[in-house]
């Protein structure tokens, strides 16, 4: 193809044709060096890229086009030496135009030998890659910047997490110590009031007996509140082990603990077979216990009927506990899970912590708890736990 193309041109020799071809290339600087590195030919591309005319540069040493720094560290000589040794050398780096500006060159230097293998010089083909280089530099810079940014953000986040952890720990410690220390004097008030009432029983008027009873009940109530608060705090302080357990075991343990309450209220608890879940047995028992306790406590005029089942839902099990109790109006469905929230007055004793504890336990297991109910139509408590 080339041959035919060249042969159609109205020029004399093959060498001349080739020279013209090389000359006309604009994108590449193509020129010859002799064995000493002196420029011997110069094409259009070389002039365009480097700014020198053939007349200005031919006869000059090619190191003229290198930066001062590269000249000082001997880069031109190294390139020639490597091309002489390996017949070829590739290089990339800054070069200097005639006007002193720099461009990023991508260079191939090949050795030229005569028939005897003697080194006669070098061909040098280079291309101005300043734009590509700039883009690459920008990309590299951006990547570095990004990396630095990510690192600094990570560092910041880790510091924040550490501060948060420390603050949490202090808060938990504070909660724990205060509730614990509050318990002590309260125990004294309650128990000595009880002693007083017992010893003075015959001498007290009905009013006085009532006052003493109020005091004892008040102290007892506060004791229960603090107990529950402690239990709630302990859920944060002491992370429980989660392991594969039959959730039916937790239900059975809860029913054992509630045996008396269930008998007294003629309650009936029916459960479908329950699955294996990843959970803490003691904590899951607490969840069942609190929910069943509530179902019995908030019974309607019928004996409590509680039905428990579980269905697979994605990678979790969804437990459902339905009762025939008094039900809960929709506007309270969120509030009942908050700490110390009580919907009823003294007619239903309690601390208002039971469902908050359930919520915390379920959430620490990676699940969710909610209620579906309306006044007068029973309640259905749902919670999810991760499957195995």
């Amino acid at each position: 193809m080339t041959e035919r193309f060249i042969s159609t041109l109205p020029v004399a020799t093959e060498a001349e044709q080739f020279r013209l071809l090389v000359d006309s290339v604009r994108e590449y600087a193509i020129y010859l060096l002799d064995a000493n590195g002196i420029v011997r030919s110069w094409n259009t591309g070389a002039q365009r890229i480097k700014g020198y005319s053939a007349k200005e540069i031919i006869g000059q040493h090619f190191s003229r086009m290198f930066t001062d720094e590269d000249r000082t560290n001997g880069r031109p000589a190294r390139i020639m030496a490597e091309a002489a040794r390996n017949d070829s050398c590739r290089d990339e780096g800054w070069r200097v135009r005639k006007d002193g500006t720099r461009f990023w060159a991508s260079v191939v230097v090949n050795a030229v030998r005569d028939e005897l293998g003697e080194l006669r010089g070098f061909t040098k083909v280079s291309r101005d890659e300043t734009e590509r280089h700039a883009i690459e530099e920008q990309v590299r810079h951006n990547a570095q910047e990004l990396e630095r940014l990510v690192e600094s953000r990570t560092q910041q986040l880790m510091e924040k997490a550490e501060n948060l952890r420390r603050a949490n720990e202090e808060l938990e410690q504070f909660n724990y110590v205060t509730s614990h220390d509050l318990q002590e004097p309260l125990r004294m008030v309650g128990i000595y009031m009880q002693k007083l009432a017992r010893q003075a029983d015959g001498k007290l008027s009905d009013d006085e007996k009532r006052y003493v009873r109020y005091a004892i009940e008040g102290a007892e109530r506060m004791r229960l509140l603090i107990d529950d608060l402690l239990r709630y705090n302990r859920l944060d302080r002491e992370r429980a082990e989660h392991e594969p357990i039959p959730s039916g075991d937790a239900l059975r343990a809860a029913l054992d603990n509630l045996a008396q309450l269930i008998t007294e209220n003629a309650a009936e608890v029916v459960s479908e077979p329950l699955p294996l879940v990843r959970a803490n047995l003691g904590q899951l028992t607490q969840v069942f216990q609190n929910l069943i306790h509530n179902a019995v406590k908030y019974k309607s005029d019928q004996p409590p009927r509680i039905h428990i089942d579980a269905v697979a839902s994605g990678r979790a099990w969804k437990f459902r506990m339905r009762d025939n109790g008094i039900g809960i109006e929709p506007q309270y469905h969120d509030r009942i899970f908050e700490v110390f929230q009580r919907l009823h007055s003294r007619e239903y004793p309690g601390t208002g912590m039971g469902l908050a504890i359930c919520k915390k336990i379920v959430e620490q297991h990676g699940g969710r708890i909610w209620v579906e109910s309306s006044r007068g139509s029973g309640s259905a408590f749902h919670f999810t736990l991760p499957a195995l």
Binding site: Y176, H180, Q183, E184, L186, R187, M188, G190, I191, Y192, Q194, K195, R198, A219, E220, R223, D227, L230, R234, E238
Partner: protein, 172 residues
């Protein structure tokens, strides 16, 4: 007559125990100590055979001078004391404290009750533990200190301390 050592910094709690034993018709001879160091003073006499060993020790945890946990460690690592049933009676309901104490060789762990009924239950629990006989918690296989060494060291520190504090009585 049941000879007991009660270690508690709250005299109101000691009164409650005394009354409860009386109410349940259990005859007791109570020696009391108001903190851990004072308890060690009492126990030193037992180790030296200067006084008879109590049938049981009721031990509070949070006390000034020396924590109940350290007293428990001392009891269970001293050969002449380790057999004495030692019952922790504390206001701490923390499972962590309970685990700790059981690991150190406590024979039982009771939370101080908030009602008179609870108090009677506690007394019956204490009676049961003591009736069960000598403690098997025993001395750990390799005690960290030679017998007597820990006691000498602690008592030395205590005496130095009581020279600084004025008006402290340390007789059992």
């Amino acid at each position: 007559m049941l000879k007991l050592l009660v270690v508690d910094d709250n005299p109101a709690d000691i009164d409650l125990l005394r009354d409860a034993f009386a109410e349940l018709n259990i005859a007791v001879d109570l020696t009391t100590a108001a903190d851990g160091l004072e308890a060690l003073g009492v126990l030193e006499h037992v180790v030296n055979a200067a006084s008879a060993a109590p049938a049981g020790i009721l031990l509070d945890l949070n006390m000034p001078q020396m924590h109940g946990r350290d007293v428990l460690t001392f009891i269970k690592s001293t050969p002449r004391l380790a057999h004495i049933p030692t019952i922790v009676v504390t206001s701490s309901a923390s499972p962590h404290d309970r685990r700790d104490c059981m690991k150190l060789g406590a024979d039982a762990y009771f939370t101080k009750p908030g009602t008179l009924e609870g108090l009677n239950e506690l007394i019956r629990g204490v009676e049961q533990v003591i009736k069960a006989g000598p403690s098997r918690s025993g001395v750990p296989p390799t005690p960290p200190f030679a017998p007597g060494q820990l006691m000498r060291s602690i008592l030395g520190a205590w005496r130095a301390l009581s020279r600084i504090r004025s008006g402290v009585s340390c007789s059992p």
